[in-house]
């Protein structure tokens, strides 16, 4: 037993270092993915046909292809057209695309949930449609879809584990290195899983409580 858990304290700093990297990649992907998701959400319901088709294509490709394929497309594919990305840049781009595609659907739901009277009132008050969108509709929509967006952020944190396949030194890569050096895969993977659970389980509980509190007022 001591042999099984004995190395955990030795491995922990290395894994924590990788975990920090996972969190950073996740944060960066969300940071550019969610705003793009907002624009795609507006774009898929736009009256301009070209914009609508473009937005739908970006969303369907981002959701229809597995994230793993997107990651490897950016990392192994783009060098063919003489664009070589570091594994971190490829991860942020691919995960950001996926984020934009999935969150656009969440945000679209939020935009639809804002009562139509709000928009009519804003336009009647003389606001331009774009301004009405920016200062009246979007702030209300974002509040409605905050819990599902946070839930998605947790999924995205787990998805960063796929960056292991393009040699990003995040937590699963580190765990795999330790495993292949010590042959104690089971032990190190158990520690890795617990580290994910330690962040995701409390966060899930918080998000579901937020959801419950918000739905009480609607």
């Amino acid at each position: 037993m001591s042999e099984f858990f004995g190395n955990w304290s030795v491995w922990l700093p290395e894994l924590l270092d990788g975990y920090k990297f996972s969190l950073q990649i996740c944060a960066l992907a969300l940071l550019w993915g969610v705003p793009v998701g907002l624009f795609l959400a507006i774009g898929t319901d736009s009256k301009i046909k070209m914009l609508r088709i473009f937005s739908i294509c970006i969303v369907e490709l981002g959701r229809g292809a597995p994230v793993l394929i997107l990651l490897q497309f950016f990392y192994f594919g783009l060098p063919n057209v003489h664009v070589s990305l570091s594994s971190a840049a490829a991860s942020v781009l691919a995960l950001g695309w996926s984020t934009a595609a999935y969150t656009s659907e969440i945000i679209r739901g939020g935009l639809k949930a804002v009562p139509p009277g709000q928009r009519e009132a804003a336009v009647t008050l003389g606001l331009a449609p774009a301004t009405a969108m920016r200062i009246v509709i979007v702030p209300q929509a974002m509040r409605i879809c905050l819990p599902p967006l946070l839930g998605f952020a947790l999924v995205m944190l787990q998805t960063t584990s796929l960056c292991f396949t393009i040699a990003l030194p995040e937590i699963v890569s580190r765990a795999n290195e330790i495993g292949s050096a010590t042959f104690q895969y089971m032990s190190v993977l158990m520690l890795t899983g617990l580290m994910y659970a330690a962040v995701c389980i409390p966060a899930t509980i918080v998000v579901s409580q937020m959801e419950r509190r918000l739905s009480r007022h609607i």
Partner: protein, 215 residues
């Protein structure tokens, strides 16, 4: 010409992706039944166990589950094939998610159904099989098929432990030919097409069932 060769190689891997999706979905759909029954049980302990299992399964990334099952079985029990390890891992995650979907469907069944079957004197088994199960199936079909489409995309993760499905073949081809751009674009479109087909299938089954009910 070259693109055609890539396409044929990728198409040959499609049955592996489909087989993995189907088998892990079936495993999950079966395991979700006892999990869901525990989740709605009268005993607080059973409920707590079911909730913990569900949350725990969903809080750890699939890749970690697959590695854990694949490596620890070969370390301590018996060498599993990559396919079986992937099926077990994805099946367990599916069970946790489908149990929640079943629960939602059970809650959607009107109370009167339950009371009526009591009044008719149906036993637990008859009530479960002839009254509840068909309705749960119908109510949960759209959510289940959405999940199955997501699962198809999750099977790409099995490439990391060496299941020869689409993502794995794409990886190998791109490493051999350095033509990653075309290969991954083709693979992505292939997944997209399969998910469209699955969505279409589920919609037509759903429409069929609705038509039979509203007769």
């Amino acid at each position: 010409m070259e693109a055609l060769i890539f396409l044929v190689a990728l198409l040959k891997a499609v049955p592996w992706s489909l087989a993995l999706t189907l088998s892990s979905f079936l495993l999950g759909a079966l395991l979700a039944i006892p999990l869901c029954m525990m989740r709605i049980s009268k005993h607080a302990t059973l409920r707590a166990v079911a909730i913990s299992v569900t949350v725990f399964m969903r809080s750890i990334p699939p890749i970690v589950w697959l590695f854990f099952i694949f490596f620890s079985f070969s370390e301590y029990v018996v060498q599993l094939s990559a396919f079986v390890a992937a099926m077990l891992g994805l099946g367990l995650i599916t069970a946790a998610n489908l149990a929640e979907i079943y629960r939602g469907a059970l809650l959607a069944i009107p109370h009167g159904q339950r009371e009526a079957s009591h009044v008719l004197g149906l036993g637990f088994w008859d009530r479960a099989m002839s009254v509840m199960a068909p309705q749960v199936f119908r109510y949960s079909l759209p959510a289940c098929s959405t999940y199955a489409i997501g699962l198809l995309k999750d099977t790409a993760i099995a490439s990391t432990i060496g299941v020869p499905e689409v993502a794995q073949v794409a990886y190998q081809l791109s490493q051999q030919t350095f033509k990653g751009l075309e290969i991954y674009a083709l693979a992505g479109c292939l997944y997209l097409l399969i998910s469209f087909a699955m969505a279409w299938l589920s919609r037509s089954v759903d429409a069929n069932l609705r038509a039979r009910i509203e007769r």
